[in-house]
Amino acid sequence: MTEKDNDAVETPEQESAPEVSEIEETTDLDTADLSVDAEMGDDEFEWKEPPVFEIEHKEDCLCEIKVTIPAANIVSTLDIIYKEMNDGVQVPGFRRGKAPRKLLEKRLGKYAHSTAIEQLTDAAAKKLMRDHELRPVSEAEVTGLEDKDQLDDKEDLVYTVSFEVAGTCELADLSTIELERPEYEVDEEAVEAQINNMRTRFGRYEPLEEGVAEDGDQLVIDFKGTVDGEEFEGGSAEAYPYILGSKRFYASMEEAMLGKKAGDQVTAEVTFEEDYMSAEVAGKTAQFEISINEIKRRVLPELDDEFAKKAGHESMEIMRETVKKRMSETADDQLDQMLEEQAMGKLVEASSFTLPKGQIQQFVEMERNSIYGRMLEQNVSAEEMEREADNVDEAAQKQGLFNLKAMYVVDALSEQEKIEITEEDFEDYTRQFIQGEDTQMLEAYRAYFKSDEMRSTTAHRILYNKAMKTAVAKCQIKILSEEEMKKAEEDAKEKEAVEEEKEDA
């Protein structure tokens, strides 16, 4: 035995294998240690010779790429794989990491080669994306690698990849887009109405010394109802406050009480419906004896500073101002949002797009799902859904396409106008959902919007808002007076009607 000379050289012989080549009993390899590929993070793949890409753009954003990976890379990759594999695999008869490469090739060749293919194609794909700035939106379809688990280290690896890349959007010139904004001024009458509304809310009932019961008065009554001379459950009460005109009692009872004085006794006849909730008296006629104990009339507070203070304002004048301001702010917000929607609609119409088919389908599908989701929420029956299927399809087709285009518009806008999302935007967005200074809620919302699953959605929404704001600011805005607005609406309706006629024809 020559155990002393154990500086083994790992170069196996070069001759072809003989027909008898059984290897020492093979127990299972230490499969637990086959975690080689996990460690092979190829962030920086070293190319011996760079791969060659032949890119062919086909219609509808389809991209077909012929990839040629030079053989030199195959050799180097396999070298690395075997080296790393050897460290992790125990071959019977050999200490860890001491097995000769030839043996490994025979035992794990398939695995090594498929790993090599995976690594090479992965690295090639990364390089392709980086060098040519392609943005795939669909799964890549690879041809030429089907059940290829044997690499020839003298031959280049050639295969084709095809996928859809993101479409493009030729954004229309913002300054040519005309938006219509209806003129809005807060109506003084509306302000008064709002204040009056508040006044009623602050009103109090005060006992009426003299006079008769009118609509809106609160009566304190005792009543006793009998059917065929017998009392029934729920048919009587004492000192019951009832507001005349609230229509909670039957009309005949209200009529009987109207115009009576405090202390008066009245009777009323009521016929219950057949399906009255109490079966005992349903469909029967009851006599009610009502005695009016007291009449209270609602006294509205005077429109003075005292009332204003009660409502949380300093004086009546300030109160009017605040109400007006609040109303105009709400209206402005609504109009702004309307303008944004209008701008998006016009931008989508005026811009030109090239869109990948797969993505359109994906968006239509998403829209369809959300339509059905809404239907489910509204408890629409299954049959109706089936009946509506065609309409839903059509709507989804339209809306899905619009959504996709809108997305491209936002992307194009943010690129053109250099819009970026900052941390402050996140903060502002979060604060919209909080009323006042609720730090606990704020924290919760903040965490929610920044969580992994919500972050991109939130960012997208913020970007949308920001982009649309910028876009609206750059568009021409035409202020329409009320009459013009009405006319425009009519025109639109007419146009629609004409179009529908055309479609029908």
Binding site: T2, E3, N6, S16, E24, F94
Partner: protein, 99 residues
């Protein structure tokens, strides 16, 4: 007793040790039929690798005891078959391949 070569040579033994022997002295290690003698083993190897036209210079053999194997603790015990190991030395420059 005449034996066919495939009845003499069981299989090559591929271990680190055998690899060292092969690389440093052109010795090849096989597991062989315990009934075979050195002469038969040498002839069998030459016959087996007739295509490579090799010459066996020396054969050393040793009988190895099969390892004892137990099942269910001590209740069932037995052993693997005894076997014969042969270290075959080839003429300088001759090689055979079995990995």
């Amino acid at each position: 007793m005449t034996l066919e070569y495939h009845k003499i040579i069981d299989r090559p033994i591929v271990t680190e040790e055998s690899q060292i022997l092969r690389e440093n002295g052109n010795h090849y290690v096989f597991r062989v039929n315990p009934a075979a003698n050195k002469k038969q083993i040498g002839e069998a190897i030459e016959e087996m690798y007739r295509k490579e036209d090799i010459r066996v210079v020396a054969v050393r053999t040793m009988n190895c005891r099969g390892k004892s194997r137990r099942q269910f603790g001590t209740r069932l015990s037995g052993r693997r078959a005894h076997w014969k190991k042969a270290i075959v030395t080839l003429r300088d420059g001759d090689t055979i391949e079995f990995i």
